[in-house]
Symmetry: D3
Subunit: 284 residues, 6 copies
């Protein structure tokens, strides 16, 4: 009907259809178990809006989003009041992505939604390895009376895939027994150099990256619900990403931006850049 | 241990113990079913902090909080992830207040927590009349797949006490069928004059006031999750409060302030004043 | 590819295709001539996001967006640095809408973009009547050395269609000679009653509504670049809209929301509601 | 040195020198006794900055600042830590203005600084009448152990000039005994009509206007330290200003804007407009 | 009266009574001499509120607040307008703490309130050593005409205990002569290694820590009145705290958070964590 | 007329007249080509206001602004809607500064205004060397259809003076071909050490510094239109400034602060300090 050009409603540089895309970006606007300051449900659409203001080119990896094959499918239409059904839907859509021979890139939303996605991946890849970027251990058995929570999600993942197949990066907050659990299983990565050694040891295995944006310092990314001082600068995060560049990344998600706490909107712009770099590091 | 004076940690002008108090103020920091922009769980403590900056004297009712008998009991320690147990606890504490021969003044939190309080009141007062101040009808049967929601709470109240025992003030948003329901049962109050007539008709009956702060216009109270233009000015609200002054108010609650959305903190100050006026209008 | 449901990327309740739609909603993200505090270019996408959080039902007109036929076409892809080409594109797309037998609903962006749309309408409807809601006269001949500016737009419209075919509502700021111009041509509407008389006099003629959101008081809509105290409450605006309900509205636009100045996001929500009411009042 | 034009560092439309000016605008950046939320010391410079973004023309009085004779002298250089010396300096500068045959227009800062200015005026005009616009009575004898406070200023004024020579407009907050004091001396103005009668009774007498900006509703002017719901809209304030237009205004001040609480900057813009209207109503 | 559980109104993990506590936390809500952007008076209560959202466990010291013996006594009820009486009260309450055989942990408010606390300590401990964390030297003789100011406090401390018994950490702003004073007395600590040497030299002596939160970089803690770029990251601060772990800390305070400047609330959360780490490093 | 002292309306420590000043500070309030989030036009006046709250002494260079000879001339009165005329005026005023034997220190506004200033300098100094601090390459040939843009400014400078006479510091964002251009011409400075080598090679040549404030990390300076994570800390910037201390700096400017995005005002304070350090490093 129109010859006048319109801006795409998709993420910047998204493919126009998913047909030939390597990665499918899926928004998961859920924050129902968030304990402190909720609001992450608004993240996927605001990150999309912010993506239109950043460069497509990554000087860190000398790659351009225009050359990367991904499709922004939009946000899931979730039954907000029902945590279990939300998780089921994330599981279903991840499976649909896998069945189509594509890779899932979830944009949260709260961290709990990583669990069903990783579960779907684990069923396809029994040798799956999970790399967990976060400020928090997320290793509780229950939280405020609930087993399904953004504070228990990595414990549930570890119970599923085994602590041996998990690395945790950037952790600096949790309960005493959670830190003991990390120590016991030696999941905490101490430096980018150690990270390189660990990844060498699992060379070729399929890797799922789950990245809670609060792994960045609150000065870099203030717009998150449970800010923890003492986090990574963006450059430090990039030093870990560079280690990941040779890995066989088969799935990933990025979580916990809270746009209403992002008064300058800079956190949302930063999140869009983290997503860009994740696509750069993970695309073939 | 100290002779140096300290500021009370209670609400401004609160009694020091509940023993002789007419009203018991109880914070209910729950926002688990909040659909749009959560954050009301932080309201009770922030309203308490703000109370210390306002006058104790109400020029609207020529009363002073110093002469009013109320006790600030603090916030309930709620199992955040479990809606049903939260509601049970509100029910329990309301009963405890009633058993002690006192009156409940709940400070939310989200509107759903009114339901168990009103239920406890209804069991004591079978002729209970409920006055509902709100921007929203809250008359849905379910919301996003859940029957227990801040969008269904008044429907559940009406199912309990009967639509005949309900008046709704300030409503200006809802679905089509909710407005039809209000019309069918004639619950919507058109003006302060009509309100006077309605209250004359129930003279002497026990009244529970449930006040969603978004009944005020977002210009007056911007810090709320689902702002609805076209609401009351503070003076308009006071004109309804003046009508209430002769009623037999036996219980009340005030809900839905969202401090993180209150960038200037003026909404929190305004909420503290609404609470002050509610105590002035309701105390013997 | 997916059976799992996704949220539409369009405006709430938008038709899925434009084929059978009466109205075509088109974002015009331009603020290049904005004199004081720019930022309106972000409005169309943020109003779209906010639309997903409001009700579809209008209690003011007892209509539901679900029953209204409109299609959200998205934002134009504008050559930002070139004002004249931007205006040409708005003219082109408006003509494309008209040629398709549909009606244009522009979402700005700054007010200057109304001119090419009205020009396209005037070419189709030589008896076009324009109703201008605004805080500002917008009647300057030039502004800061430019004839094409959001402060000159209505003067250009009047030069095109004649002052006799223009009504201005809510004006309260401008230069002295602009107020004299309004007086001379008697374009300023004094009250909703006068407005009714004026519209009676043009019964049946095609009407274009151009609404600068700063017609609302800054307390109701703080997020705008040149806030002017003393504006309309939402109820006052609705009293004018009710007068419009019988008119033959053939085109319209809504302008000047500035999301970065909207710290609580309430202005964006209010703008989404004004758009909803415009659709309600204007749809067949 | 430069032929290239620069923007004046003065208030918009200020005379270039004070030599022939009727009014001298003087900033008084003091908030040392502010009890709740300080910050008014930043108001004079921010109002100056905001003045450059508003129109010079007042449609309320059909006057233009370009035709009004006033000079912006800048801010006093105050010894911040010493309240008494600050007050002495305000007294001195007011006398200097009066000795020069000019009129003082103070821009606060906190309300206490009105006292020394009014004292200097009272010494020149023993029949001085003071009109006090405010949300607060400011009639305390002492506040937090201090007699010199922004909560005691009008009591000190009344002790000086007599309660018979004082009118108070917009008051809605204070302690019980302060309201009794207003009642006893009948200083509270009930309506614009009453205000007209009062001013008729003092026709020709010299009038000093002291305007605390919190007389406006916090929705209109959120950026103030002790916001009080239930205040004037801008139009209501203008209805009082229109009554003042025939008075013999010899001095005035405007106080209590707090720019750091003005997150959208709209309050500062509104304050600049109130100052514009004060100049319009008071200039010969 | 209630069996339903309530949240404590005290700081997270505070003892329920002071009887057996090692540390007594006392809020000092005073900002009367603050020169630039006041507001620190609101810090103690907001840090208390924020404490409820953070973990009790410190991974930096592998300690848990649940195992630390401290009591949150609340805020002093200060005569705001009278600086000398405020200081007297802080002196009195510090002495009361010392007489009871306990340790004082002051939560400011502005830095001036450290002086009377240190004075009381010095009277008990003539060999007291003071460690001063700050962005500013605070070594002025007077500030804006006042000897009692948050800019003179450390000069007054040094005059009392002698410059030999003072170390200053993180200083990066002041007047020229203040830097010369630091140089002359060699009080400025250059690195964590130097700090270790200094503390070795005073092994066993009683230490008072006075920590102005602006020692942290404004990116880490934006909510402070006089932000100074170039400050410590949280990790750098922790490297100094680790040096302190073997010291005989007998008293401490933490100052200058300004909640109204903390738009994201992240500074308040960070301050609560600094307080947690101070308790971890200082408790037996 | 007044003996009472007033605060200067100029920048802190500015000379009272330009007659004997080495440096002339000139505000250039233009943001007409700004692509993403405009608002830098308000920077010069807000930085001036903020300058009054910082120290005059720089501990980094052990210099005091009171000893530095500079004059704050105020902001240019620009014809906002006409980019070419704006550039002409900046060119003219720079020439006027040079003709008077003084040095230009521009305060933007957007980066495009550096071009005419550098052009005027290049005409006087054919051996001019330009040091460019920025997050962005600014090396585009055109941007959104315009050759004159804040994204093309350094390309235009390089076309004028030659790439051999340009160093770029802190760059981390741009399009692929812009990075290739930097590589080809070897303009990107890798470290402060390399910077020292480069400056040694041009010893004695006249240097113009153009500093886009987004060279600092958004955590340090959030108030800028196109924030780019991964930038300099303030200390890193100072390490480059120290290298500059021996250079023959003949002109400079500082750009791209956006006060409306600076919600805590800390960015504006930081910008005032960067300007202070630039004056310290550049003054004789």
């Amino acid at each position: 009907m129109f010859r006048t050009p319109f801006i795409s409603k998709n993420w910047m540089a998204s493919d126009e259809t998913p047909n030939n895309s390597e990665w499918i970006m899926i928004g998961v606007p859920f924050d129902g178990t968030c304990s402190f300051r909720p609001g992450t449900r608004f993240a996927p659409e605001q990150i999309r809006v912010a993506s239109r203001g950043i460069e497509t080119y990554s000087p860190y990896f000398n790659k351009d989003l225009d050359d990367i094959s991904f499709y922004d499918a939009g946000e899931l239409d979730l039954p907000f009041g029902n945590t279990q059904r939300v998780l089921d839907m994330v599981y279903d859509v991840t499976r649909e992505v896998l069945v189509a021979g594509k890779k899932y890139f979830g944009i949260g939303g709260e961290h709990l939604v990583s669990y069903p996605a990783i579960k779907a991946y684990y069923e396809k890849y029994p040798d799956l390895y999970v790399v967990h970027f976060d400020a928090h251990t997320d290793l509780r058995d229950e939280y405020l009376g609930e087993a399904l929570s953004h504070s228990t999600v990595i414990k549930k993942v570890a119970d599923l895939i085994g602590f041996d197949n998990l690395s945790q990066v950037g952790i600096r907050s949790g309960e005493s027994y959670e830190f003991e659990l990390m120590k016991k299983h030696n999941t905490l990565v101490k430096s980018a150099e150690d990270f390189r050694d660990i990844l060498s040891g699992i060379k070729g295995r399929p890797v799922f990256i789950t990245l809670d944006l609060d792994v960045l310092d609150p000065s870099v990314l203030p717009g998150t619900g449970t800010p923890e001082v003492g986090g990574f600068s963006f450059s430090e995060l990039m030093s870990y990403f560079k280690v990941l560049a040779d890995s066989n990344i088969v799935g990933m998600d990025m979580l916990e931006l809270s746009p209403f706490l992002d008064t300058s909107a800079n956190s949302t712009v930063a999140a869009a850049k983290v997503a860009r770099e994740m696509l750069c590091v993970a695309s073939r």
